[in-house]
Assembly symmetry: C2
Homo-oligomer: 313 residues x 2
């Protein structure tokens, strides 16, 4: 698949009227703390509270016409389930979600707003995939992977397109890495539309599969999913990995304590509700601020769906 | 004291370069929920996380010159202490804060960033006032009341000035009422610069002194301070009350459950960190939405200093 300027512009035109052009915030406090100029691209204000709505909308717009009446299916316990169910609802396409049986109630209820077709599976990847395959086959549905899918990547790219259009002098954009769909979208936007901006990945040390994959040259997996950044627990996708290899200059790792400290700053000083996955990028910048002195840095705040009941600093 | 167009414009010019022109946010979700067009004036993004910085800055700028080396004093456990200490620090004026000994640590630490002159008193109004008087006299300081002070009111007015300048078609502005300084500032801004906009007060039922005062025509007091909206526990001030009588069309009361439900919406749906006092105005609108159908409504989100550790929905 080639991701060309034209394909990216088409996607943007295709989904523009459905998505929010999210605001970019600046904070003197952060500029002083980090010694550089920081631009927060606030996808927490996107529909369904995360960038995933861009991906879901674009993917739904592009399903083959024979599936429009039967519908789509994905497996996700979090933001993509929420995004795909709302996007499907918006475009009148039936939506089916496979969800682990340990999904928190507040996440389930977000999805239930838009679809009744929720199938619970065991809380492991194998059960997810089996349950998805079974429903896919039985109901003849169209499968959309939450991150490893070209339409998803293209949808994600629109976030960075907006950012670099409004702030053309960015030196770096920091993106979190889970399955790799967001940073792949960021990469193709930068690759096509910016000459000087570089892409930096940010990943929790506890789930550092992308960091290790870049070093070894092949997709590594996580043995644990023990991070507060629940959006980043998934493994790197096969479509995303070569894009990341091509464009991502460096992946920075941060500890759980560093993620929590940054989350604390964003909630209590900046007054923005973001989820821990968003705090990962600020944590990576704060930890490495000497490297980025006086530079113009875009930070993608990927989402804002946080469970306040379980928040402990 | 006359609050004229000229005096308001002067204040704005005087403090403009020190304060943040806070953003105004709109949300389809809220417009649909309330059946009107809602404009959130986000003072949670103001320096020190509340509108109080406007008040503090203006008050500090206007102290008689003989006090500039000796400094100012106030009594506050919350946002005004934080705001006055930072504003004083900004203008190199010594600042003294009288604070109840049950003030939460996170609030104390915000003030300690800017001044070491913190005097602890017992957690009641009498002890506050005694401790303030003693220091005022001993150290020959200048007293600035957190809400019942003309420079404070004038500083507060700049928030509404910004709002109505950018959104000239507002039909109503909702402001919370504690000591009455914010709604008095809102009132003089509307009284001087808007022909059609009306001011609505929002107050917790549990501390409904302003509501009762408007009915009885004299300042009533609260027997309890039992509300989650910690910024609104204080009693109405003598300077603020006649301004409120002149300009405020109506005061709407809301229950603790309604405040919490609105806070939940603002944090979890709108992704803004606001304190319970801010949620009071949205609660008042939601409760009375049939009265305001299709109107253009400005809601002042007065601050964002919330203790997440104690948040329970």
């Amino acid at each position: 698949m080639n991701f060309t300027q034209k394909s990216l512009t088409n996607v943007r035109n295709n989904i523009g009227k459905y998505i929010i052009k999210t605001p970019v915030f600046r904070f003197d406090f952060i500029d002083n703390l980090c010694g550089c100029n920081v631009f927060f691209k606030c996808e927490n204000f996107q529909h369904t509270g995360s960038f995933k709505y861009r991906a879901a909308l674009n993917a739904i717009k592009n399903i083959p016409s024979e599936y429009k009446s039967r519908g789509v299916i994905t497996h996700s316990s979090g933001n993509f389930a929420h995004a795909l169910s709302k996007a499907s609802n918006e475009l009148n396409i039936p939506c089916h979600i496979v969800m682990p049986n340990n999904t928190p109630e507040f996440k389930k209820s977000s999805v239930k707003l838009y679809t009744d077709n929720i199938f619970e599976c065991e809380a492991n990847l194998k059960s997810r995939e089996l349950m998805t395959k079974k429903n896919l086959k039985d109901k003849n549905l169209y499968f959309i992977h939450p991150s490893n899918n070209t339409d998803v990547i293209l949808g994600n790219s629109t976030c960075t397109l907006e950012l670099i259009e409004d702030y053309q002098n960015l030196d770096y954009i920091f993106s979190p890495i889970g399955g790799g769909g967001l940073i792949a979208g960021t990469s193709i936007a930068i690759g096509n539309f910016s000459k000087n901006c570089k892409v930096i990945g940010a990943e929790p040390s506890n789930v550092d599969d992308a960091y290790r994959s870049l070093i070894s040259g092949k997709i590594e997996t996580n043995t644990s999913t023990n991070t507060i950044a629940d959006g980043l627990r998934t493994n790197l996708g096969t479509i995303n990995f070569p894009i990341i290899q091509k464009y991502v200059k460096e992946i920075l790792l941060v500890s759980e304590e560093e993620i929590l400290a940054s989350l604390n700053i964003i909630l209590n000083k900046l007054k923005l509700v973001v989820e821990p996955s968003s705090a990962v990028v600020l944590a990576a910048l704060i930890k490495n601020k000497s490297k980025f002195k006086n530079q113009n840095i875009g930070l993608i705040m990927c989402g804002g769906n946080i469970d306040f009941e379980n928040l402990k600093f």
